[in-house]
């Protein structure tokens, strides 16, 4: 089995290490001037594609991202990690917060029509909306088998054996190609995109598209009503002895 074409998806989000602040209008979080980077699960996705290319299972890696102009930086990081070329589906800045998994899946569905990959690898879930839906929606739209939460992927004779991380354990499945996979944290250790690789990646091509050109309606179907901070953790009480502890528990109705 050799010479597969892989389409990998990535998304630019607020960096995982940044402290999130809710916007004053409670309809979202503050993004202006905040550090952004690629979702860690997307890094796992790209790393897996690059490793499959090193093993000669994959011939070409196309990386795609839907988002504002700055998403190009994210695509460049993916190219620096080893992807061959990029596709940037641009949405106007400000509206990207409303770009929901259904719209993204539709866009990727069109990209699959265009690029004809044998395998699509996405990150398991975005760390901003935590939806974990795009892979599943896309697989449904394409009528392709899916291997979500993949923590081990092995290729053999036109099939993939995937170990999935699920509640309460691991599940092994076999899917035939073409298929859609979502990368989990333990799939691999993503390489760091060093400066020399970023420089070399500037020579690689990034194609610019937009949802209109692809004929996709990205109107949001869900409306965000309210965004609030989680409740502040109450300080605990220290008690001097067991008797007091029992009294306090009885007081609070826990006995």
């Amino acid at each position: 089995m050799s010479g597969l074409r892989v389409l990998v998806g990535c998304k630019r989000v607020i960096d995982y290490a940044v402290k999130i602040r809710v916007r004053p209008d409670s309809l979202g979080v503050v993004t202006d001037g905040v550090k952004h980077s690629m979702i860690p699960f997307d890094e796992n996705a790209i790393e897996e594609a690059v490793r499959m290319k090193q093993k000669k299972i994959v011939k070409e890696i196309v990386v795609a991202s839907c988002g504002p102009a700055q998403s190009q930086e994210t695509i460049r990081t993916a190219l620096a990690m080893g992807a061959d070329r990029g596709i940037h589906v641009e949405v106007p800045a400000g509206t990207d917060a409303n770009l929901q998994p259904l719209a993204v899946a539709k866009i990727f569905s069109k990209l699959v029509e265009k690029e004809k990959p044998d395998l699509v690898i996405l990150g398991k879930q975005a760390i901003d909306d935590d939806a974990n839906q795009t892979t599943q929606l896309l697989a449904g739209m394409l009528d392709w088998p899916q291997g979500t939460m993949a923590s081990v992927v092995a290729a053999k004779d036109g099939n993939l054996t995937i170990t999935r991380e699920i509640d309460g354990g691991l599940e092994d499945i076999s899917v035939s190609l073409p298929a859609v996979i979502s990368a989990d944290l333990r799939l691999n250790e993503p390489r760091y995109a060093t400066l020399p690789n970023i420089m070399k990646a500037k020579k690689k091509k990034i194609e610019k598209l937009d949802p209109e050109k692809l004929g996709v309606d990205i109107t949001p179907r869900l409306k965000i009503l309210n965004v609030v901070d989680p409740p502040v953790r109450q300080a605990g009480d220290k008690v001097p002895d067991v008797t007091t502890l029992m009294e306090k528990l009885a007081e609070k109705g826990h006995l």
Partner: protein
Amino acid sequence: MTSPGNLRRSVIQLYKELQYMGREYPAGADFFQTRCKAAFLKNRHETDPEKIQMLIDRGRFVQKEIEALYSLRKYRAMKQRYYDQDEMDLHSKKIENFVKQL
């Protein structure tokens, strides 16, 4: 390879790469980048090619250490946020065994 021109280029390349990496440093980009500059300046009068190469190698080692730091930090944060600790331990064993069979 150890001609002064090459060494100079290597040092400058190393400096650029470290400064680039320093942007994400947990204690702050400023913290890292000022100390990095100071470390390079401290050795700027070195002329022995062997010593310079040794310092470059040390710098490359530091670069690898920082890569490992970033990688581990990210992994730990994701693990803590998205995974139950007991399940993780269970998965560790199973994944190890599965990979051994491949």
